[in-house]
């Protein structure tokens, strides 16, 4: 079962929930895999002592334009949905704007004059790691300067999914646009982590509307409970949305987290909370089969 840990708002505690939940699943005797798909700034593996076992360079299509063969017909620029081919026939100028290119290869199909050469460029690296208990971890890391976030996320999840595991936990990128959609769409269940502030609620609403439109199952974890106001709770109860757990707004939790430790290991009530969370997810998984 694949579980995305996502949020609308950034900084609500996706990594906090992912890292602790992962440990809880393993303690309950399940095989679990932690995947950091927040490819623009992956950091969930900081919480474990790991050894790298493998890495795969992820590449994406980028055309090479040979202007000496170009007849300036403009068909490649017409085919390009993303306006990634800068083309001024009056000045005999043609070139690729790599940051706009999505690697769809339409330009290559368009060109009948051999002016477009197929080629691939590195967009990032998917690494796999192992801990002392032989548990596997995957991390997708986008190359500096690359804007190909989506292909990087897809590749990270695809590679991790080849592993046999009871639970694959996907620490997702923030937001509610493409990166969020691409992680959620590849998951059987989405845990939305939010906080009871106006910002948390506003972004959670967007995330929920998005997941509803995708017919995805989800539940909500309220982090920093006690902060803000009750609007979030009203919204969740009005819409019959399941609260999977509440993590209190606490200095102790923040202290443990910022030291790189797991509250699951250090705080009894948090240990219990995460075990309960596991059971809820397991029950949900059983209800599917």
């Amino acid at each position: 079962m694949k579980i995305a840990i996502a949020s609308g708002k950034g900084g609500t505690g996706k990594t906090f929930v992912s890292t602790n939940l992962f440990k809880a699943f393993k303690d309950l005797g399940y095989s679990a895999l932690l995947v950091d798909a927040d490819v623009e700034c992956p950091n969930s593996l900081l919480f474990y002592k790991l050894k790298k076992v493998d890495e795969t360079i992820v590449k994406e299509y980028r055309p090479i334009i040979h202007s000496e063969k170009c007849v300036y017909c403009g068909l490649c620029a017409d085919y390009c949905e993303y306006n990634a081919i800068f083309y001024v026939p009056e000045l005999k100028q043609i070139k690729l704007l790599p940051n706009l290119c999505h690697g769809c290869k339409a330009c290559s199909v368009a060109c009948q004059y051999g002016a477009i050469e197929d080629s691939n460029t590195e967009i990032g690296i998917v690494s796999s790691y192992i801990d002392k208990g032989k548990n596997l971890y995957f991390e997708g890391r986008l190359k500096e300067g690359s804007v190909s976030t989506i292909p990087m996320i897809k590749s990270t999840i695809t590679q991790a999914s080849k592993q046999l595991s009871d639970f694959i936990l996907i620490d997702s990128p923030p937001g509610t646009s493409c990166p969020f959609i691409q992680t959620s769409i590849r998951s059987d269940f989405v845990i939305l982590v939010t906080e009871p502030t106006p910002y948390g609620l506003s972004d959670l609403r967007q995330a929920i509307l998005t997941l509803d439109s995708m017919n995805k199952s989800y539940g909500v974890i309220i982090n920093r409970a006690g902060l803000g106001n009750m609007d979030l709770y009203d919204y969740l109860s009005e819409n019959n949305i399941q609260i999977l757990g509440e993590i209190p707004f606490s200095k102790e939790i923040a202290r443990i987290y910022t030291q790189g430790d797991l509250v699951y290991d250090k705080m009894e009530d948090m240990n219990l909370l995460y075990r309960e969370l596991c059971k809820k997810i397991i029950n949900y998984g059983n209800s599917l089969s």
Partner: protein, 104 residues
């Protein structure tokens, strides 16, 4: 010499549009013939790449100078390659006032 000025409207009284790629109109002014022509920006609502498409547009008009409030990072190198000089105007000026300055 031809100059492109980004404009919010299509009259001399219209003010400079501070955005380059997604401006409402381009005012093309020829400093020799003193002719002024307004062209609605066809790239106003494209999803991506409005800047480079607008560079293509003004380049096809033979422009050598562009006046706007701001030029994005995607287009600066394109403008340099085509030897189109970029002039940034931060004050709220009308097209008429900018044309006057170009004639000085």
């Amino acid at each position: 010499m031809k100059v492109a000025i980004t404009s919010k409207g299509n009259t001399l009284e219209s003010v400079l549009d501070s955005r380059f790629g997604r401006c409402s109109y381009f005012a093309f002014y020829d400093t020799e013939s003193k002719k002024l022509e307004f062209v609605k920006n066809p790239n106003l609502n494209v999803n991506e790449g409005a800047g480079p498409l607008s560079v293509k547009l003004i380049a096809s008009y033979g422009v050598k100078k562009a006046v706007s409030g701001e030029f994005g990072f995607k287009i600066k190198s394109l403008m340099d390659d085509l030897s189109i000089q970029m002039i940034v105007v931060n004050e709220e000026k009308t097209i008429g006032e900018i044309v006057e300055l170009l004639n000085k």
